[in-house]
C-alpha cells in the first residue's frame, strides 16, 4: 500500500489530478447533503414568481412553477449520481461476465461470445442506449438499464484483454495444472489482478454515464416528472432558454462539472498508476552533469596541415551538446579528422563513444535539440556549421549519401520504394516523375537488385532486409555522391547478407571514387573495408591508424583491447573470450584525466589527472601517455564484460 500512497500523492500532485479529486469529492458531498439542505426549497412552489431571471433571492432564477432552479440543481446531484453509478455498476458487471466468458467457457464457445462483443462494440453507446430504452420503456429504470447495458460491450472488451493478459501468467497456469477449477481461478487469481484497471476505467465510465444519462433525460427518455435529475432540468430549461437562460445553463454547468471531474480523475489515475510519462526516457544522451567536461579539447592539430582540394570532409574540434535536466551533456568532445576523395575512413568504438553522433553531426542531421559546434566543419568546401537553406540542402542532397543501421525501419512504410528513391531526383535534380522513376530503377539495378524495374513498385515490407539496405545505398546514388556516411550498415543484417552489402560499398567506392565513412562497433568490418581507422572513446578520438596496422601496430591500449577481443582462427577455443573489463564512460559523467584510465591496465596517476592530447606519430595519431608500451599479462580472474554492442 506504500506504493499506492505514493502514486496517489503523485496524482494529486498534478494540477489536473488535484482539481479532479477536489471536484469529485465536492460532487459526492453534494449528492449526500444536497437533498437534506435544499430539499424543501427545491419543491417550494411560488406561482407569483414563475420563470424569473436570476436575482438575489433566486441565484439562477425560477422555473415555470416558481421553484428555485439553483436548489433544484443541487438537489438533483443525488439522483443524477445514483443513476449514473447504478448504470456503471450494471455495465461493469455485465462486462466482466461477458469478458471472462472466453476464459471460463474455453476456446470455442468463448470465441462466439467475443465475436458478439466485437460486433456490439462497433455500435456507438448512445445507439445501444436508444435501443434498450425502447425495449425497457421510457423512464428512469429503463434508462439505467439502457445506459448500463450500452456500456457493457466496452467493459467486456477491456476485461477480455486484461484476462487474456493475466491468464497467460505462470501462477494462473500453475493453478490450472494443479486442478483448480476455472471459476475459482478466475475469482482467486485473475480478477484481483485486473481490479485496478477496471476500477480506473469504471471511474471514467461514471463520468460517461453521467453525461449519457443527462443526454437521455434531455431527450425526455430518462427521468420523468415529478422526479428530476440534471438532464430533466436541462430538458425543462432548454425550453425556457429565451425567458430564463440560467434555467438551462445551471443544470448544464452541473452536468459538465461532474462529468469532467470523474473523467479527469479516471484519466489522471490511469496515468499515475501506469508507466510515468517522462519525456526524457528515450533520449539518446543520458542526462547528467557536464561539470566534469574538460571543455573543448586542447588543439588536437590536424594530422597534416594540407587543406588540399581532395579533402572531401574537413572536421576540426567538433563538439555536440544536448541540454540535460542537470545541465548540458556533451557526448562528442572535440573531434578532428578529415576524409579525402575516394578514401574509406572507419570509426570504431563502443556504444556511447560518440561515433554515431559524430556521423550525424558531420551530415547536419543531429536532432535540433542538440548543438553542434566546431572550429571547422566543411564538406566539399561548404561550411556546414550554419544552415545554408535551400542551396545547401540541394548540395547535400545530391553529394552526401547516408546509409543507416536498420533498413527495416529506415524506409517509409507507406510509400513504394521507387517513389522514395525518385523523390531525391525530383526534389534536387529537377527531374520529372517518369524520368526520376527510370533513374530509380537504374540505380536499384546498379546496386544489384534483380528485376529492378518491377521492384520500384514494391513497398518496403515486400523486400528482404539485405535488399532494402542495398536500396538505401541506391537511394544515396540518385545524386552523384562524394561521400557515403554509413552508420552500422550491416549490424541489423544476417551474416550472409552483411558481406554482400560491404562488397557493394567497396565496389561503389572503387568504381566512382566515392569517399566512405563507415561507422561500426566491429573492428573486423572496419579493418576489412577501410583505409584508415579512427578509434573513438568517450566522445574523443583516441587513436588514428592505417587499417593495415590495426592487428600489429596499434598503440593505444583501448585499440589493442578491441583488436584482442576479436577471436580469430588462432584463438584458443578453450580459453575464455578476451573482453574489456569495466563499463564505457557515460557522456554525462566523464572523469578528469584520460577517460579510459579506469579500464586501462597501463593507467597510472598521471593518466587519472591529465588528459593525454591526440598527437601525431609516424603512422597515425594517438592520445595516450603510455602509447605502445607492452601490456601486462591478461588477468583472467577479472569479471568479464562483453564488448558486444547492445544498440
Amino acid at each position: 500500500m506504500h506504493d499506492g500512497d505514493r502514486r496517489w500523492r503523485r496524482i494529486v500532485g498534478t494540477p489536473l489530478g488535484l482539481t479532479a479529486t477536489v471536484l469529485v469529492v465536492a460532487v459526492l458531498a453534494m449528492a449526500v447533503l444536497g437533498p437534506v439542505l435544499w430539499g424543501d426549497t427545491a419543491t417550494a412552489v411560488d406561482t407569483d414568481d414563475i420563470l424569473a431571471p436570476p436575482s438575489a433571492e433566486h441565484w439562477a432564477g425560477t422555473d415555470n412553477l416558481g421553484r428555485d432552479i439553483l436548489a433544484r440543481v443541487l438537489v438533483a446531484t443525488r439522483l443524477s449520481m445514483l443513476l449514473a453509478l447504478a448504470a456503471v455498476a450494471i455495465g461493469v458487471s455485465v462486462g466482466i461476465v461477458l469478458g471472462s466468458a472466453p476464459f471460463l467457457l474455453g476456446r470455442r464457445s468463448g470465441r462466439l461470445v467475443s465475436a458478439a462483443v466485437n460486433i456490439a462494440v462497433a455500435f456507438p453507446g448512445l445507439l445501444l442506449a436508444l435501443f434498450f430504452a425502447v425495449v425497457f420503456g421510457v423512464g428512469a429504470t429503463g434508462a439505467v438499464l439502457a445506459i448500463g447495458l450500452s456500456g457493457a460491450p466496452v467493459f467486456a472488451r477491456l476485461t477480455q484483454t486484461l484476462v487474456a493478459g493475466v491468464a497467460a501468467r505462470d501462477y494462473v497456469s500453475a493453478a490450472r495444472v494443479a486442478g483448480v477449477g476455472r471459476v475459482r481461478v478466475l475469482f482467486r487469481h485473475v480478477l484481483p489482478n485486473i481490479a485496478e484497471p477496471l476500477v480506473v476505467n469504471a471511474t471514467i465510465g461514471a463520468g460517461g454515464a453521467l453525461l449519457s444519462f443527462a443526454g437521455l433525460s434531455f431527450l425526455g427518455l430518462g427521468v420523468q416528472s415529478p422526479a428530476y435529475d440534471w438532464g430533466r432540468l436541462l430538458y425543462d430549461g432548454a425550453a425556457a432558454i429565451y425567458v430564463n437562460p440560467a434555467s438551462a445553463l445551471a443544470p448544464g454547468a452541473a452536468v459538465l462539472l461532474a462529468g469532467l471531474a470523474f473523467n479527469l480523475l479516471g484519466e489522471s489515475v490511469a496515468k499515475g498508476f501506469g508507466v510515468p510519462v517522462i519525456g526524457d526516457v528515450r533520449r539518446r544522451v543520458r542526462p547528467g552533469r557536464a561539470g566534469a567536461d574538460p571543455g573543448p579539447a586542447a588543439t588536437d592539430d590536424h594530422a597534416d596541415g594540407t587543406a588540399a582540394e581532395d579533402v572531401v570532409l574537413d572536421v576540426r574540434d567538433l563538439r555536440v551538446t544536448f541540454p540535460g535536466p542537470a545541465g548540458p551533456v556533451r557526448p562528442v568532445r572535440g573531434v578532428t579528422f578529415d576524409v579525402r576523395r575516394g578514401e574509406a575512413v572507419g570509426i570504431v568504438g563502443e556504444s556511447g563513444s560518440g561515433k554515431s553522433l559524430t556521423a550525424l553531426a558531420v551530415s547536419r542531421l543531429v536532432d535540433d535539440d542538440g548543438t553542434v559546434e566546431a572550429s571547422r566543419l566543411a564538406f566539399l568546401g561548404e561550411d556546414l556549421r550554419a544552415d545554408g537553406g535551400a542551396a545547401q540542402r540541394r548540395m547535400l542532397g545530391t553529394t552526401l549519401a547516408m546509409v543507416f543501421q536498420d533498413p527495416m525501419t529506415s524506409f517509409n512504410p507507406t510509400q513504394r520504394i521507387g517513389r522514395q528513391l525518385a523523390e531525391v531526383a525530383t526534389t534536387h535534380l529537377g527531374m520529372g516523375r517518369r524520368e526520376a522513376m527510370d533513374r530509380a530503377a537504374e540505380r536499384l539495378d546498379s546496386v544489384r537488385i534483380a528485376d529492378a524495374g518491377e521492384r520500384v513498385r514494391r513497398y518496403p515490407h515486400e523486400l528482404s532486409g539485405g535488399m532494402r539496405q542495398r536500396a538505401m545505398i541506391g537511394m544515396g546514388l540518385m545524386g552523384t555522391p562524394a561521400l557515403i556516411v554509413a552508420d552500422e550498415p550491416t549490424t541489423a543484417l544476417d551474416v550472409t547478407v552483411q558481406q554482400q552489402v560491404l562488397d557493394l560499398l567497396a565496389a561503389i567506392r572503387a568504381a566512382d571514387g566515392v569517399a566512405l565513412m563507415l561507422i561500426s562497433h566491429d573492428v573486423t568490418v572496419v579493418g576489412e573495408v577501410c583505409d584508415r581507422v579512427l578509434v573513438m572513446y568517450a566522445g574523443r578520438i583516441v587513436e588514428e591508424i592505417p587499417a593495415g596496422d590495426l592487428a600489429t601496430a596499434a598503440q593505444h591500449p583501448y585499440t589493442r583491447a578491441l583488436v584482442a577481443a576479436v577471436p580469430d582462427m588462432a584463438t584458443d577455443v578453450d580459453a575464455p573470450l578476451a573482453t574489456i573489463t569495466g563499463r564505457p564512460v557515460e557522456p554525462a559523467d566523464v572523469p578528469t584525466g584520460c577517460a579510459y584510465a579506469a579500464r586501462c591496465p597501463l593507467a597510472d596517476a598521471r593518466c587519472r589527472a591529465e588528459d593525454p592530447p591526440l598527437e601525431a606519430g609516424p603512422r597515425g595519431r594517438v592520445a595516450c601517455w603510455h602509447a605502445g608500451e607492452p601490456l601486462p599479462a591478461p588477468d583472467s580472474s577479472r569479471p568479464a564484460e562483453d564488448l558486444v554492442e547492445t544498440r
Binding site: 489536473l16 443527462a214 432548454a238 528515450r282 526534389t427 535488399m467
Partner: protein
Amino acid sequence: MTITASSVAATRSQPGRTALRDRTWLRFALRRLGRLLASLWVLVTASFAMIHLIPGDPVRGALGPTAPADLVAARREALGLNDPLLSQYADYLRGLVTGDLGTSLSSQLPVSDVIAQRLPATLSLAVLAFLAAVTVAIPLGVTMGVLTRRGHGRRTELAFTTSSVVVATVPDFLIGIGLVYVFGVNLGWLPVAGNETPSAYLLPVLSLAVGPAAILSRIVRVEMVSVLEADFVRTARAKRLPPRRVYLGHALPNAVTAALTMCGLLLSAMVAGTVLVENVFAWPGLGTTIVSSILTKDYPVVQAIVLVYGIGVLVTNTVVDVALALLDPRSMIRED
C-alpha cells in the same frame, strides 16, 4: 508471421509474389465481408427482436389503454404480430430486401417514406460535421506535433493536452445549448432551429464537430510526435527534403493511419451524436423523429431508424478499414 512469409516470397520469382499479394487482398476482402455480413445479421435480428422484447403488447402500448379492443386486434393483424415468430422474421427480412419497412403507427405513412424524407438532413449534418472536424484536427494535430516533438515545447504540450481533454469531454448537446445561449439568445446572430438556411447549419455542425476535433487532433499530435522519431523520418531528412515535405509527405501519412482508425469510431459516434444535437436545434432529421417515435411508441419507425443508424455505422467502419488497407497495406496483415 505473414510479414516474414511475404518478404521471403518477395525474393522469389515475380508471378509467385503477385499471386501472394492478390491472395492477401482476397483474404482481407473475404474476412472483412464476413464481418460486415455477420454484423448486419446481428443488427437486423436485433431490430426485429426489439418489438418482441418490449414487455406487454406493443400495439396496446402504442394506442393507449382507451383504444377499442377490435382496433388493437386489427392493428396486430396488420403488423403480422399474430403469425408464428419465424414467419414474422421471414416477412421482416423479405420486407427489408424489397424496401418495405412497414407502416408508421401514428402517421400511417410508409416508414420508407419517413426515412427518405428525414435521412438527408441527418446525413448532411453528420458529413459536414465530420469534414469540419477533420479539416481542423489534422492541421492542428500536425502543427502541435511538430511544435512539441522530442525536446520541444513542453509547456505548449501541457496546455494543448489539458485543454483538448477538457474540450473532448464536453458532450455535444451541452455545447449546442451553450451555442444557442451565446449566438441565439444573447447575440441573436444565428438561427437556432430548423435547417432552412445555410447559416442554420453553423451551430449544429459546430456542436457536433468540436469534441471529435479535439480527440482527433490529440491523436494526430501523439502520432506525429512518435513518427517524427522514426528512422524513416531521419532518412527523409538525410535526403534533404524541405521540412514541409518531411512533415507532410513522410510523417503525416504514417501518423494518419492511426488517426484514421479513430476517424471511424468518431464518425460512428457522430452518427449517434446527431440524435442529441438534432433535438437541441429542432433539426428535421432522423434524430428528432426517433425520439418522438419512441415517445409515441411508433415502433415500426423506431425499428427502421435504428436499422438505418446501425447500417450507417457498419458502412463507415468498412469504408475506414478499406481506406486503411489502401493507405497502409500492412494493415491487411496486421488485422488478426
